[in-house]
């Protein structure tokens, strides 16, 4: 990023005990409290200290005028590939559970700033969909301006992993030179996953037996040599132990049912079905398994397995009890997820607060952080997006985005910075 612009737009870390208050705004809490008119959101130490129409602003607090503005919880994108350095996929093997997005985060990817300018405060950065079992994802908070990629990591978020079903792991739409990679059918995809889990179970047993032996032998010369650590099998074993959330890329209803069956057979849970464009056909089964669904609002027809995609998907799944989120899978679309949520109102008549939930609380639940973010409630982390109008309105523009109470995007500041660097463009 342009050095001048960059330095102008970096946020300073908050001083401990700093208090900020957004006053006089319409607050869309996305909680039981609903929408509050002329309300105040009080932020202390990066957390929401209080929210309501009658909240007293303590002396010395930094006040942000919210008059005429709409405050909503920071938007959470449950399917992102932003901030990944180099390849999004480790495509060479069909199982790559050992690779970690956390190893390759680029904290200076300008898309993070652009996301903030669309009200996004957290993203689930996923491995690509090349493999039946892909790499481990990283949940990031968009603390734009930190100098160490590790500081972006949403530390409280549980580990997760990407699975992929259907055309992508089949490599249906690509023709790489050389022999065709296994699997080339949905049948093969299923067997790859089954085999990986059975191997992981054997691996887990091997370690359990070793630990028993080691305990018996005690320390010293007779201590047995531990088995080889295999980072791939270890990760899959961690899925079985419930330590790693499965985010499974899928399109067709049959493959969704396939993975549910496989999960129940092998003893693991699917946390979210990603894309899940035919989820509406098997919504009850998804709900029964207890998985969430993270879908596109209206993408369809880009490949055969997306031909039955309908924009009513989110509404139907939601009506059957599935926790639904709307994601971007795109650095461009991530900047207007608030309008993606509005499409849930348009297609299927989802109530506005439920639609907002699809980009806030629901993805938070899907990532295992709903107790920390996803709604505006006292005690939660102060991840907030401040809009010029109701986020569903055609005049809606993000004016300010806060992460942990720190203003990480401020349109006024951005405009000021660009008038100092006019080559960057963007009309005033």
């Amino acid at each position: 990023m342009n050095a001048l612009l960059l330095s102008a737009l970096l946020a300073a870390a908050p001083a401990a005990g700093e208090t900020t208050a957004i006053v006089g705004a319409t607050v869309l809490t996305v909680s039981k409290a609903g929408n509050l008119e002329k309300a105040t959101v009080l932020i202390r130490d990066g957390k929401i200290a209080a929210v309501g129409a009658d909240v007293q602003v303590p002396a010395g607090a930094k006040v942000i005028d919210g008059a005429g503005r709409f405050v909503m919880p920071g938007i959470i994108d449950a399917h992102s590939h932003a901030a990944i350095e180099d390849n999004v996929n480790e495509c060479t093997n069909v199982v790559t559970a050992e690779v970690r997005i956390a190893d390759v985060i680029d904290h200076r990817d300008v898309n993070l700033y652009r996301h903030l300018a669309g009200g996004v405060t957290a993203i689930n950065v996923l491995h690509g969909s090349c493999n039946a079992i892909g790499g481990q994802n990283a949940v990031l908070k968009l603390r734009w301006g930190v100098d160490d990629p590790a500081q972006l990591v949403f530390a409280e978020a549980p580990r997760g992993i990407k699975f992929a079903l259907g055309e992508n792991p089949k490599r249906s739409n690509f023709s790489a030179p050389g022999p065709r990679r296994y699997p080339a059918t949905r049948m093969g995809v299923s067997e790859v996953i089954r085999e990986a889990f059975l191997e992981a179970k054997a691996y887990r047993r091997e370690w359990q037996e070793h630990e028993k032996k080691a305990k018996a032998a005690g320390k010293g010369a007779t201590a047995p040599v531990p088995p080889r650590r295999d980072l791939q099998l270890e990760t899959i074993a961690d899925i079985l132990d419930g330590k790693v959330l499965v985010h499974a890329h899928c399109y067709r209803s049959d493959e969704i049912l396939m993975l549910i069956g496989l999960a129940e057979e092998l003893g693991f849970k699917v946390r979210t079905f990603q894309h899940v464009l035919e989820g509406y056909k098997v919504a009850s089964e998804i709900a029964k398994h207890g998985a969430g669904a993270s879908t596109f609002s209206d993408w369809w027809a880009f490949k055969l397995e997306a031909h039955d995609a309908i924009p009513f998907n989110a509404a139907v799944m939601q009506s059957k009890g599935v926790v639904v989120s709307l994601n971007s899978d795109s650095n461009e679309l991530a900047r207007r997820l608030y309008w993606e949520a509005a499409k849930a109102v348009r297609y299927g008549g989802v109530p506005e607060q439920e639609a907002l939930k699809m980009i806030t609380w629901n993805p938070a639940w899907q990532l295992g952080v709903d107790h920390l973010v996803g709604s505006i409630e006292a005690g939660k982390q102060a991840d907030l997006a401040v809009f010029s109008a109701h986020p569903f309105s055609p005049d809606a523009r993000v004016e300010m985005t806060l992460v942990d109470g720190v203003v990480r995007f401020d349109r006024a500041k951005d405009l000021a910075a660009r008038s100092a660097a006019p080559a960057a463009g963007g009309a005033q």
Partner: protein, 427 residues
């Protein structure tokens, strides 16, 4: 004091056929370890520097070379080079995903691939010492440290193997084909090395009743890194590769050396804290595949800015108080790269240090080379002018005391009548 005395004695002993002495007199001497000396003498006895100073007495029988008008510096050390390896169009480490013959064979020795004649050509540019690294692959072999005088490649060897290498790069259509795959691969390789070590230790302690463990050459090579017998040099082409390399080192208790690091100045504080040797690239624009984008092609403004930032990197690192080696990193013209660093803010003397004593320090050989000091290897260059200046040529190069005269290539046709510099004079 004792060193000086010893050096003095050495210097004064007469030269004989078995113990030849060369005296370079009257030149401007930049010893790097100390201040510049005008019209000084450098005395070489065999392959070792015997004395350096303004008033060094030339012993009888010495071959005296008039170095007036020349600038004498230690021989240049290219601490991360492709010297002697087949020329390749590749982009240098990290710049491109090109597969080496065996891109994951940590145990392969680069020495086996060095071509003597090609290696010796580097002397023409004043390079006397080089760490030779295979640029391709991920862990494509152990490098060798060469001193560029000898009749066979083996005769050049100063340290073999010199280091184990990990390029934070990717392979094409072969695991690892992503940066995250590369990190995961390295992590698993180190774990496997540890595991193999444990199996063998257990077996060697009590072989009775146990199956012979499998021998794994790659794991063996990595064990040298785990035990500290060999440094692990990690090639970093992205800003965050620095943290990646340091984190990997920390995870496995391995002390890493960082190579490449074209944006290192941005993490100067991290590097200061880590205190690890740095081999900083002068290959600012390694050839790479054209990028693409969905919106109007690659961001050329950024590409250009990144190249310029890499050119300013050495100067900024110096300004931040870091010590480092400047390396060719398989660039086409090392001197031009160093010159660019100087143009972009690296002081001349810091540049010279970075390719001599600084490089020797980074490689752990500063006790034997890198400066013009009595007792160090007789590696030196007599330059026609200011080192690295555009028209400056290496007129005389000494490696282990052996004299070489680089061809003056742009000389007049025939070249017979050209004036000889550094002509020996009788005294």
């Amino acid at each position: 004091m004792r060193v000086v005395l010893l050096a003095g004695l050495l210097a004064l002993a007469p030269a004989t056929a078995a113990d030849p002495v060369v005296a370079l007199v009257g030149g401007r001497v930049l010893p790097v370890s100390g201040p510049a000396l005008e019209k000084a003498t450098v005395l070489l006895r065999g392959g070792v520097i015997a004395a350096v100073g303004a008033d060094v007495a030339v012993p009888p029988g010495a071959r005296v070379i008039d170095a007036s008008g020349l600038t004498l510096t230690p021989g240049l050390i290219d601490a991360f080079s492709g010297i002697g390896l087949p020329a390749r169009p590749a982009g240098g480490p990290g710049g491109a995903a090109t597969n080496a013959p065996d891109p994951l064979a940590a145990e392969a020795d680069v020495l086996d691939r060095v071509k003597l004649a090609d290696a010796l050509k580097a002397r023409d540019a004043g390079i006397t010492t080089a760490l030779v690294v295979v640029p391709d692959g991920i862990a494509a072999g152990r490098s060798v440290l060469l001193n560029l005088a000898g009749e066979t490649t083996e005769e050049l060897v100063w340290r073999q193997p010199a280091a184990l290498h990990l390029h934070l790069s990717t392979l094409r259509r072969q695991y690892p084909a992503s940066l995250m795959g590369t990190v995961a691969w390295a992590r698993q390789a180190l774990l496997d090395a540890r595991h193999q070590q444990a199996l063998w230790d257990d077996y060697e302690r009590e072989p009775r009743g146990k199956e012979r463990p499998r021998f794994d050459a790659s794991a063996r090579a990595w064990q040298d890194v785990l035990s500290g017998r060999l440094p692990l040099i990690v090639t970093c082409s992205r800003l965050n590769d620095v943290r990646r390399a340091l984190a990997l080192g920390q995870e496995f208790g391995v002390k890493v050396v960082l190579a490449g690091v074209p944006q290192a100045w941005e993490v100067a504080d991290v590097l200061k804290k880590a205190g690890r040797p740095l081999l900083v690239t002068t290959n600012y624009d390694p050839p790479r595949a054209a990028g693409f984008s969905f919106g109007g092609g690659p961001d050329e403004a950024k590409e250009k800015a990144d190249i310029e930032a890499a050119e300013r990197n050495p100067g900024k690192l110096h300004a931040a108080g870091l010590r480092f080696a400047l390396v060719s990193a398989h660039g086409r013209d090392f001197a031009a790269g160093v010159r660019k660093a100087i143009e972009r803010g690296l002081p001349q003397e810091a540049a010279l240090r970075a390719v001599t004593l600084g490089a020797a320090e980074a490689l752990g050989i500063a006790d034997r080379t890198g400066s013009l000091e009595a007792g160090k290897a007789a590696n030196l260059v007599a330059w026609s002018g200011e080192p690295f200046a555009k028209d400056t040529k290496a007129k005389l190069v000494f490696v282990d005391g052996e004299r070489f005269e680089p061809e003056d290539k742009p000389a007049a046709p025939g070249g017979e009548g050209r004036p000889r510099v550094g002509e020996e004079v009788a005294r």
